[in-house]
Amino acid sequence: MITVHATAALAQREFTRFVRQPQRVIGSIGQPILFWLFLGTGFTGSFRPPGMEGISYIEFFYPGVLLMLLLFASIFSSITVIEDRDQGFLQSVLVAPISRLVIVFGKILGGALIALTQAMLFLLLAPFIGLVLSPAGTALELILLLLTALGFTALGFLCAWSMKSTAGFHAIMMVILMPLWLLSGALFPIQHVPPLLRLVMETNPVTHALVILRLPFYHAAEQLLSDKDFLVSLFIVVIWVMASIWLSVLRIEKREKGISY
């Protein structure tokens, strides 16, 4: 009971803090939308990959922006781990009689719910580019968005926990989190890249997150649940999420220990 109560309280706190910082709301929603509009509009005229002639770049890029939105939301959420430590709040959480899993999950769930809310707002734009989801497809897409958001937030938490400053985290973000997105197939199709890069992209779990987020726009939910490619990608994403959460718990469990004297 204490676990559920504490997890919900920590997650709710994340959400409350988010809505009380308007610049954070504007930044995390505005940036992906601007990327989508500028890059999408700019590349639409020249984007003609073989086999995808019927898809405009703005449409191709849409699931990638959804993914980017989740990534940015998780980055902003993860930065609060460093802020919580600097501002002292983390101390009171660490001395509470709750397991470390609750702390990790409360924080991650809160961040993921923020990301999901932003993604839901962005989903409202989908019909304007001809991407329409059925009710079942919408439900599936939301579940997949939440799952991916959990993965990103857990990964961000893991990186942020060891960081001494937000500046240090920004550096990590640029060399770890952003490349994961860049090499996910969000910007360009995976089918037409050199073999070595393709191998890297296929081993990137975020590539599989993009696959499962893209497919519901083009296939019925029922059909996807028996689709081998979809299920393989889903399995990889689930493993990625669980591993990130597990590593985060291990990291937070580790306490500084004195050496023998």
């Binding site: 204490i2 109560h5 002292g88 709040f89 009171s92 959480v93 009689p97 709750i98 004195g258 004297y261």
Partner: protein, 340 residues
Amino acid sequence: MIKIRRLTHVYPGARRQTPRPALLHFNLHVEEGEFCVLSGPNGSGKSTLFHVLCGMLLPSAGSVTIGGYDLFRVPRMVRRITGVVFQSPAVDKYLSVGENMALYAALYGRSSKAVGLAEALEWTDLKNRLHQRVNTLSGGLARQLELAKCLLTRPKVLLLDEPTSGLDPASRRNFLEMLKSIQRKRAMTVLMTTHIFAEAEEAHRVVIMKDGQLLACDTPSHLRSSMGREMVVVVPSNPEALALALKQDMDLNPLRFGDELRLENVGTTESLSLLETILSRYRSQIHSVAIKQAALEDVFIHLTGHSAGIHPPHSDSGPLESGFLGKGNEESGRPVETEQ
């Protein structure tokens, strides 16, 4: 209630630095319902001890039991009965007073309704500020919130790390009065670190530590009386020369603290005649001279040789006698180290 046995903590040295011991075979036993104040100069190991007691640091050796629970084996049981007030604010400034209280209650598996938010804030000035954001509160009110949220779960043990730092004197007094009143009412065990000796005057026991070891542990009155009832404090133009003169001419062993020379453990009747003799002999070398009642701060200075701008004593002071071991060192069986 709190039993610390032979606690040792050694920080691993950073690159090319040797390991740094912060606590060495530290023993302390705080009774149930006791208000114990822990003091010591910077770097004496207070913060390390506090972080170990909070369960945030694993020591190199030793054991700690709180409320009968082993801190290192069942930390969650200890956390259930312990409240912690940190030196730096540990509340969320984006949340309101009420939201912070509710969040804290939830971390202890309780709803704010069940624990009684109004009752928890009754003794504070926050009663009518439930919806006010924390970042709009004054420093004093923010500290009240820190304490109120810790008391929300009715802890048996309260650990406070310099809780009044950054407060003005009035807010500090107000905070301590509240703390003492609640401690008495609830018979709570309190262990508080502080640099301010006025805060220790009403404690049941005062612990003074230095270099990770316990120097003294006794009631404030015993500590003061161990110094003698009065002391003569002389500020000469040349402390070294006057100290030598006092030794040679009058067979006195003054302690030197910075520019001051102190003649401690002087009886009430002797202090005046001693002052007159010193003045008559060395008036030209003396800027000022005074008779002073020994205060806890003087005990601290005597033992640690630390105060603002004061250096360790040069002459041999000898260990203070009465009750200086207190309960703290009963188990160690080692002599108390005093500044020699």
